[in-house]
Symmetry: C2
Subunit: 415 residues, 2 copies
């Protein structure tokens, strides 16, 4: 792909309202563009990274027996009256009327819609279990949108719903999804902690959050320095500096960015919305549900926060928008230009390659390359005429000259 | 994938309000589920087909130098005031207020947002051309939603916008996108006609529509029986039954489903929204734009309309949700069950395989398989113990017994 056609509007200065590093970088690297408070356009580089995150999610969920579907953003008041949430959900719910004056909302979650979608079908234990997910745009009218994609009003989530005949089966799916999430975040280059939390506006019996430790996180969590124990401060029984009752480790506090949350819903929605099935004893029983959210745009932002310096991003291997960034410099003669073109074409057969074909000075190209953060770069200059190029590896922070004849082997070991 | 985990709620009867074949079939085959008038959930089979359509679109557009991005559904009134469309667009525009009483709409198209996104950046001819697209959910408050996905209120579109320095460059992109669309629809198994049309609420200088000929289409088009001439009846200068002035063919009329539309916007949005660049002569000039829509959910529906009988769908090769449908029947002993399981696992390594693992009678499985329309099926029954299976090929409408030893070669030639 030619950089001139990709649309990467890099900026020297971050916008004044950008308070955190990832927000500043995402705007400066031409990843996002704000169109209104808390509402963003994902520019081509960010879109490519999000597609990578989505592909990882699909792989991990499909491998565990989940099926993808797509539910609408527009949800009728009727459904929300059934669950009782129309009157309970506050001003964060964006509400509107259609031309016939009927009430709708823009879905912040989809418990009502998914329960409506399955309830006629799930009439017998034979049709259970079921695990359905979607990757879709959600809406929440935040009082104070801030931190870029961290607290936005329109954002992209993966939400998944499980339907079980028994508490044991719910526990099986809950555990399976915990493992899926752990694997997903690991592949995204994110270290997360699993934190017990309350169930909030979603409701249900038990909930856990996946937290990325970060000084810009909005939640305060307490965790043990030795074992896996971690909890939301409000939720936690323990005070910072205490000994942990389970393992003798010390309890510390830190800030966290919530990137995922999972809930044992139980029968809250199936009872209120009449989703009953005939169980193995021939009796009617409400379906036992779980719900599992994962913020995709937030994961993107947390990844930038964890994998960057003030000068730019270094994309984790599975998320990088391109495998290889070619940066031609000081091209003064036709021969060099032809050699570059031919190398670009050859490499593009094997890798996702971005070439900086812009008519810009080397310094500008280097600074932009640092900003946008493709971890493996080849500088193509005069040395190419003698058969070598400079390879920059941002994971190792190394620069070295490589003979073109060795390039294939070197790239094979890196990419 | 196991059918029991996929969620395919097939129905014997179509809903009463379903008037056209594709709508009936899509509900009966468990592809879509209505949640409100003109608002649908795409169930897992439909989602898989849509992902295939989207993959084709991405391939064809990326190959022609276009870049994918993602713009928000929520659009502020401010932007629509700039273009002048806030007051001009009628009741089909869904409008809402946020918690601070500011006006927003749910985007039916994205000319305003994309022009806002690029206008600061596109300040010189050096940064042109640019072709940006998204695959995204759109909203239009239809007076009378009908025909399932054909005239819905929330639907999925690919919309693309080109930015050029000259009329010649616009013509180049317009032609390139015409070819891309032709290729996309062909790969989707759809025969389309290109029809000149008026520019409607989008505005601009010239427009063409891509039409699928169908008796359930909502547009009347006139076309020549010999040459490529085709036009919207309202737009056409000719009457049905006339000789065509260009080629001596006869003019006929037919109904068409609009699946794509392309517009030479010219400078309508760049002038009103102040998207100017410095041209090669050093003068300020408004960017010349084109816009190119393609209805993905509508393409899905048109595909079902064209590739089906009353009994079910036959998915075109590139759209089929699975390559292969395995249908085990009359499994009474362990040995057969193990052989089936092993065949399923072997085939799944190479192909996207769906296995009907439900505890249902053979007749029910066959009827459901006809409905959901995976074109290549293997019936796995007693004969498997003697080393053969029945192969059903719905493209050729043939059934034949195949030795397991020949299966690999037979499938290689078919899939």
């Amino acid at each position: 792909m030619k950089q001139s056609l990709l649309f990467v509007p890099t900026l020297k200065e971050a916008p004044k309202d950008a308070e955190v590093k990832s927000h500043k970088l995402m705007v400066r690297a031409g990843l996002i563009k704000q169109t209104a408070a808390g509402i963003y356009t994902y520019l081509p580089l960010a879109t490519r990274v999000m597609k990578n995150i989505e592909a990882i999610i699909r792989e991990e969920l499909d491998a565990r027996g989940c099926s993808e579907m797509l539910m609408p953003a527009l949800q009728s008041r009727d459904l929300w009256e059934e669950s009782g949430r129309w009157s309970k959900y506050g001003q964060e719910l964006m509400r509107l009327k259609d031309r016939k004056d009927r009430d709708f909302c823009l879905g912040p979650t989809h418990e009502e819609v998914v329960t409506h979608a399955v309830r006629d079908y799930l009439n017998s234990y034979k049709k259970l279990p079921l695990a359905l997910y979607q990757i879709q745009t959600k809406f929440r009218d935040e009082m104070r949108p801030r931190f870029g994609l961290m607290r936005g009003r329109e954002f992209i989530m993966k939400d998944l719903y499980t339907f079980s005949e028994s508490q044991e089966d719910l526990v099986y799916w809950y555990q399976s999804m915990k493992e899926a999430y752990t694997d997903i975040f690991k592949r995204c280059g994110l270290a997360t902690k699993i934190v017990s939390s309350d169930t909030g506006q979603i409701g249900g019996d038990e909930a856990d959050e996946f937290m990325v430790m970060s000084e810009v996180g909005e939640d305060t969590i307490t965790y043990c320095t030795v074992c896996d124990y971690a909890a939301n401060q409000e939720f936690s029984q323990l005070n910072s500096g205490d000994k942990c009752p389970v393992c003798e480790g010390l309890i510390e506090t830190a800030k966290g960015i919530e990137v995922g949350n999972i809930f044992k819903l139980g029968t809250k929605y199936s009872e209120s919305m009449n989703a009953y099935f005939t169980n193995r004893d021939g009796k009617k029983q409400p379906v036992i549900m779980g719900c599992y959210g994962l913020g995709i745009s937030r994961t993107l932002m947390a990844t930038v926060e964890q994998n960057s310096s003030e000068d730019g991003i270094v994309w984790p291997k599975e998320l990088t928008p391109f495998d290889l960034h070619l940066i031609p410099i000081n091209i003064k003669d036709e021969t060099l230009s032809e050699k570059i073109d031919s190398l670009y074409k050859t490499l593009s057969l094997k890798y996702r390659v971005l070439i900086d074909d812009r008519d810009e000075r080397a310094g500008v190209k280097f600074k932009d390359a640092d900003l946008i953060g493709i971890p493996t770069r080849l500088i193509l200059g005069k040395s190419l005429l003698e058969g070598s190029v400079e390879l920059i590896d941002r994971y190792q922070n190394t620069k070295k000259m490589i003979f073109i004849d060795d390039l294939e082997d070197v790239l094979k070991s890196l990419l």
